[in-house]
Assembly symmetry: C2
Homo-oligomer: 89 residues x 2
Amino acid sequence: MPTIVVEVMPKAELLDPQGKAVSGALHRLGKTHFAGVRIGKRFEITVDEITDAVLAEVRELAETMLSNSVIEDVISITTPDSAVAGETH
Amino acid sequence: MPTIVVEVMPKAELLDPQGKAVSGALHRLGKTHFAGVRIGKRFEITVDEITDAVLAEVRELAETMLSNSVIEDVISITTPDSAVAGETH
């Protein structure tokens, strides 16, 4: 069954405590050439069929249910399996 | 500064409680054409420069620090900013 991938990241201007924790750990390990780390979420949604209507529905779900629009941005919705690999919608 | 994107997903054969929760909620909303949802992590690592050595280091970090190899797989390491968009390493 085809999958739709939704990627959500914290808004760039906001503090990302998880990212800060990882980047602090990297610096303590002496890896100072890593300037920063930001951590977001990646959703793989399996659907019966990929249609424009389903994609529109996924976009709406992404904005309302899969992300918190106050602190996060939906950065991409892609269909890795479809004819054109990595079609972005 | 260039970024390296690391994507980590739960191993396919393992139960993904978060994903199950979202997919249950979708079904309760009547959206039964969504067969399943899996939720993983997306890391954006900002580096001074992208070199083969840095990429090798990011791969090692991805396997050891950014994912739990018992329950998760590193599914891709890409450099969206580099000359060839979405180069996968």
